[in-house]
């Protein structure tokens, strides 16, 4: 009855109607409703183009993006990442030893849920844990080394569909719900939530930038932003979004951010990985 309900309802009506669903979270229905909302809101945008953020919202931007994609500025990050993958740690092991399939073409399965630890493991966290497990110091989650590693891993997964799984472990469902709550909760003195910008007004301007739709927003990570004239990891993007609403950012890879990435990636299941991405 729930899926029929969400399919039949017009998106605006469904949005305002009080939640009939029992309190038990239903990620499958969430994901359908989430994707339907954006597909209805932007009928002219091709399904897989949602991963191109602002570039699928504005023709002028799209042309500039195509121009940049001929020889994109994140090219250096991918190559540095490839070199890092090939350089063994002091103990002779490499990043490939920490990941399935040597870390090639696996990005679309991250974040995963670790049932031993009972927590979400994001790609950035897994990379630092791999370093620590091999006696190396962890990298900053905001700086270029982490961006190069995730850029290379994303590059090897390009085109693969996002494939995030929520195991039947109740803690996984709770992490998913925490991520969803964080996404919709207003914060900072400007009193914005992620949804205020990326659900209510994608395609519109906020100051000088055109807002990306929330659907597929993780698929392009990490991104080279002209604004930063450098690479940015998912962690850096979450922290800067916080400070732009005048909320004090939390520690990178805090549980809130891990759950948020879990939720945002799960609802984008089925959309292709397009990282690393170039952005305004």
């Amino acid at each position: 009855m729930r899926t029929a309900f969400s399919l039949a309802s017009i998106c605006v009506l469904a949005w305002l109607a009080p939640a009939l669903a029992a309190d038990k979270p239903d990620p499958v229905a969430d994901q359908k409703a989430f994707q339907n909302f954006f597909i209805k809101k932007f009928p002219k945008v091709k399904y897989e183009d949602f991963v191109n953020g602002p570039y699928s919202m504005d023709e002028g931007l799209h042309r500039q993006w195509e121009e940049k994609e001929q020889f994109p500025p994140y090219e250096f990050a991918v190559e540095t990442g490839k070199e890092m993958f090939a350089t063994p740690f002091k103990n002779g092991k490499t990043y490939g030893d920490c990941f399935a399939n040597k870390g090639i073409g696996v990005r679309q399965n991250y974040p995963t849920f670790d049932e031993k630890e009972g927590k979400v493991i994001t790609l950035e966290l897994a990379l630092n844990r791999c370093r620590e497990a091999n006696g190396e110091a962890p990298y900053s989650y905001l700086k270029d080394e982490m961006a190069s590693l995730t850029a290379y891993m994303a590059f090897t997964s390009r085109g693969q569909k996002m494939d995030i799984r929520i195991p039947s472990d109740p803690r996984a469902l709770e992490a998913y719900e925490n991520g969803k709550r964080y996404f919709y909760t207003r914060r900072g003195q400007l009193n914005f939530s992620c949804a205020t910008c990326h659900v209510q007004s994608p395609g519109e301007h906020i100051r000088a930038e055109i807002l990306a739709p929330a659907l597929g927003i993780m698929n392009a990570m990490p991104i080279y932003r002209s604004e930063w004239s450098g690479m940015g990891t998912t962690s850096r993007r979450f922290l800067t979004c916080n400070s732009q609403t005048r909320a004090v950012p939390l520690e990178p890879q805090s549980d809130e951010y891990r759950d948020l990435e879990y939720y945002l990636s799960y609802v984008a299941n089925g959309l292709p990985i397009s990282g690393p991405g170039a952005r305004p």
Partner: protein, 162 residues
């Protein structure tokens, strides 16, 4: 580069009001370190120091350009970010020996100047910085005469960042 949020939002506001951009450039024209003489063609040091596009063109070519529809300038209506503005030029003119790009309201108008030897296709694409909304001018030297195309490019986020 520490990313303290106050500096970040403060700079963005300043840049957006344009005040910051003006204040920065009010520092006057910082003399460039004298460039080492390049192996072959000489670097047009003086042209790159000129403020206005007219002075830069005069310093570079010693003559003025006339607008021509044979020079096709490809630049965006609104730059996504002033730091990376994709600009390209193609021309049907022949015997092209030089192509230059000028950004009229940058502190120094001349952005780039290319020597086009015989046998090279008269077309160039590059990515330039623009301080604010202004005219982008492409100059093509063909058969010893100068032809130009001009287009206004709107810039919302100043390209010189900070």
């Amino acid at each position: 580069m520490s990313l303290s949020s106050d500096r970040h939002s403060m700079t963005r506001r300043l840049v957006l009001q344009g005040a910051g951009a003006v204040a920065l450039f009010g520092l006057g024209n910082i003399p460039f370190a004298p460039a080492l003489a390049a192996a072959n063609d000489k670097y047009p040091e003086d042209a790159f120091k000129q403020k206005s596009d007219a002075d830069a063109i005069k310093a570079l070519y010693g003559k003025t350009a006339e607008a021509s529809d044979k020079v096709k300038l490809d630049a965006p209506e609104i730059a996504e970010n002033g730091a990376v503005v994709p600009i390209a030029v193609t021309t049907t003119l022949t015997e092209v020996s030089s192509i230059s790009f000028l950004v009229s309201e940058n502190p120094n108008a001349l952005a780039a100047s290319y020597v086009i030897p015989a046998g090279t296709v008269p077309a160039v694409a590059n990515r330039l910085k623009m301080a604010k909304t202004c005219n982008v001018i492409a100059i093509v030297e063909s058969g010893g005469k100068l032809y130009s195309a001009t287009k206004e490019v709107k810039v919302t986020v100043g390209g010189c960042g900070g």
